[in-house]
Amino acid sequence: MASSRTQTTQVMSRSDVARAVTRIAHEIVERHSGLDGIVLVGLQRGGAWLAEDLGAALAAIEPAYAVPVGMIDVSMHRDDVGLRPIVPGAISRIDARIDDAIVVLVDDVLYTGRTVRAALEGLNTYGRPRAVQLAVLVDRGHRELPIRPDYVGKNLPTHRRDDVSATRDGVTVEVES
């Protein structure tokens, strides 16, 4: 087994995270020349807080348009269903109509891409969006599927064994030493 010694490094501070969220919000507005038809959908559970913060940041930029924020629990759409059981309480909730909307999926950390694939499939049970985009706070690499993010807070080269944690309070990497 691996040694029990680990080293934790902070790679983004709380204010770094806040700035990245604001920048992504501006990129979304810029790319779509506004917010018409945009729906944010956070991936339970890690993407939930980020979707809410991104929604608030968008509201600060374009107060006239309230961007709907939904959540999706992808447990039942995973290809490795069973390895990550349903977490009680982390229920999907998408109140906005997503037919013909531009859905921005939001997650904290992009890794293999399997969660995003599951979310893409899950979205189909709610309707047919005009387009789906992906916003993540951290892209740590090691993709196993042809999935790429449209908005990235930080590109973070990692080892597969590393443990990345991303919250409002900052981003840390735990490395075995």
Partner: protein
């Protein structure tokens, strides 16, 4: 979150299992509210329903539940099977097991059959009603329905009054266990002939007159009076039964504010139900049916997407 291997009775499920399944049902209710109410969670798994006794809602809700989770379903009806050629229960189970199935949903007129079958197959067993003994998914449906209607996870301080043929009712047995586990006080109301002889060991209070307890009831649960009971001399006649134990407008009016009315179906209008339940604002009967599918989805998901089934996928992150 440890998943279970079989769902046989409420006792085996235990308090934590009960709470886990009720929480899981919230997720399934959401799936059922989607424009396309279908998820791939049980793709590649096969669920067999094996009904040796008639059923409408339980059988259909299990089949719908399996399909909404993308499981394949097989259905076995005794009237068109080799049971008519004398095939034994064991041979039937072993034959179906050889075809490669993951779960049996079993209803049988004899108590204990789901426990017996467990020895003859590696598949998961769900008890969909065995004799007078247990009907655990109905109890889950009823607990979920009360939890939803009253917006509370625990039933401490609630009084559940079960009225009618408790003796022959698997619904009553499973519900008494489940509601008591969640903290409710359970009161049984029935003529002495329709109460089981071993009632002294049950966590219940017994009354023989509905009018004595209706004023302190939060959940009024009406059981179906099976008409064949009358011919066996358990009740003198249906009219007398209806007078003492039926739910009429006067008794509805005497229920406390906020009390709810339930019935597991199928209903005997004019016997235990003297009012039209669809006209009662506090009837949960339609919610019981609606929640049946979601609860059974939670049960199948918990049984088939457990740690045991994921082992075959190997250790991948």
């Amino acid at each position: 979150m440890s998943a279970m291997r079989h769902l046989l009775g409420i006792g085996e499920l235990g308090h934590d299992g009960l709470v886990r399944l009720l929480a899981l049902t919230d997720h399934m209710v959401e799936v059922n509210s989607r424009p396309v109410p279908k998820v791939p969670a049980l793709r590649g798994r096969t669920v067999v329903s094996l009904f040796y006794e008639d059923s409408t809602r339980t059988r259909l809700s299990f089949e719908t539940a399996a399909k909404r989770l993308s499981a394949d379903t097989m259905s076995f009806s005794v009237s068109t099977s080799s049971v008519n050629k004398g095939e034994s229960l064991r041979d039937t189970i072993e034959t179906i097991t050889d075809m490669g199935v993951d779960a049996f949903v079993v209803r049988h007129k004899s108590s204990g059959v789901p426990w017996q079958i467990r020895q003859w197959t590696n598949a998961a067993i769900v008890n969909a009603g065995d004799g007078w003994h247990e009907h655990p998914t109905q109890a889950l449906v009823d607990c979920y329905t009360v939890r939803e209607a009253l917006q509370r996870d625990r039933f401490d301080g609630l009084t559940l009054t079960i009225v009618g043929d408790v003796k022959h009712s698997r619904v009553a047995r499973s519900n008494i266990a489940a509601f008591a586990m969640l903290g409710a006080k359970v009161v049984l109301v029935a003529p002495p002939t329709l109460l089981p002889p071993d009632i002294g060991h049950w966590p219940v209070e017994v009354a023989h007159r509905l009018d004595d307890v209706i004023g302190r009831t939060d959940v009024l649960y009406m059981l179906r009076l099976q008409s064949e009971r009358m011919t066996q001399g358990h009740v003198p006649n249906l009219r007398e039964y209806a007078t003492y134990f039926g739910l009429d407008a006067g008794r509805v009016a005497r229920l406390p504010e906020g009390a709810v009315i339930m019935h597991p179906g199928p209903m005997n209008r004019g016997v235990e139900m003297l009012v039209d339940p669809t006209a009662l604002p506090n009837s949960l009967i339609h919610r019981q049916v609606a929640n049946g599918v979601a609860v059974r989805m939670a049960v199948l998901y918990d049984l088939l997407v457990g740690e045991s089934s994921s082992a075959s996928l190997g250790e991948v992150a």
